[in-house]
C-alpha cells in the first residue's frame, strides 16, 4: 500500500523533503482541481476510507487532508 507521502509525491511531483502540512494549491503547481480529486480517490483507496464531498471541498492544505484521515481513526 502506498502511504500518504508516496501519494503526495506521485500526484503532486514534489520531493519528500519538501512536503509540509501547510502546502496548498497555491504552493503546488500540479494541484489543480482534477488532479486533487484523483489524489483524494487514491487516498481513499489506500486507507480504505470514504470522504464526503464537503470534506473534500473543504480541505485547503495537505494537513487538512491528513486531518480528514485522522477523523476516520487513521493514524498518520
Amino acid at each position: 500500500m502506498k502511504d500518504f507521502t508516496a501519494l503526495v509525491t506521485e500526484h503532486f511531483k514534489i520531493a519528500t523533503a519538501d512536503i509540509a502540512d501547510t502546502l496548498s494549491a497555491k504552493d503546488i503547481p500540479e494541484w489543480d482541481s482534477m488532479n486533487y480529486l484523483l489524489f483524494i480517490a487514491d487516498v481513499e483507496e489506500a486507507y480504505n476510507v470514504s470522504f464526503t464531498m464537503d470534506e473534500v471541498l473543504g480541505a485547503q492544505t495537505l494537513g487538512d487532508v491528513k486531518n480528514m484521515l485522522r477523523s476516520k481513526s487513521i493514524t498518520i
Binding site: E45, F51, V56
Partner: protein, 141 residues
C-alpha cells in the same frame, strides 16, 4: 454500436463490467492516421513495415486508446462520463483485420469525488494486447 448508455453514479458498483468487439479495418487505420496526423511508416507503409521485425503494418497504439474512450463514453458509464486519466501498456502488436475485444471492470468508486476507476483489457482471440487503468468522473447530468 451507437447506443449511448446513461449510467448514473449511484448505479455504479465495484465489479460492474462492459465490453465490445470491433474488427479493425484498413479504413479505421487510415482515418486515425488522418485525424491524428500520425502517418508513421510502421502503420502506413506496407513495404517498410514488412521489412521490420513486425513483418507488416500494425495498428496505432492510441487507436486502441481511442477505443477505451469509446468504452467509457458510450457504455461504462456512458453519457455522464468525463475521462480524466488513461494509462495503457501496449503488450502485443495488433494487425489490420484483427478483432479486438475491449473490456472494463469498475475497481473503485469514490463518492466524494464522483470518480470511478476501471481496469481495462484489450484482447485479440483471448491474447492480451494492451491493458491499463482509466479514471472517469461521472457527472451529475
Amino acid at each position: 454500436m451507437n447506443h449511448e448508455e446513461d449510467r448514473t453514479f449511484d448505479s455504479l458498483t465495484v465489479g460492474d463490467t462492459a465490453f465490445f468487439e470491433q474488427a479493425i479495418s484498413e479504413e479505421d487505420v487510415r482515418t486515425f492516421a488522418q485525424v491524428s496526423g500520425d502517418r508513421n511508416s510502421l502503420h502506413m507503409d506496407d513495404a517498410y513495415a514488412s521489412s521490420t521485425p513486425y513483418a507488416g503494418r500494425i495498428v496505432h497504439g492510441m487507436f486502441l486508446g481511442a477505443l477505451v474512450s469509446r468504452l467509457v463514453g458510450m457504455q461504462l458509464p456512458g453519457k455522464r462520463a468525463l475521462l480524466v486519466k488513461e494509462s495503457l501498456e501496449f503488450k502485443k502488436p495488433v494487425r489490420i483485420g484483427e478483432v479486438v475485444r475491449v473490456s472494463g471492470v469498475v475497481t473503485q468508486v469514490s463518492v466524494a469525488t464522483r470518480l470511478i476507476e476501471l481496469n481495462v483489457q484489450i484482447t485479440v482471440a483471448d491474447m492480451l494486447v494492451a491493458d491499463g487503468v482509466v479514471h472517469v468522473q461521472v457527472r451529475p447530468a
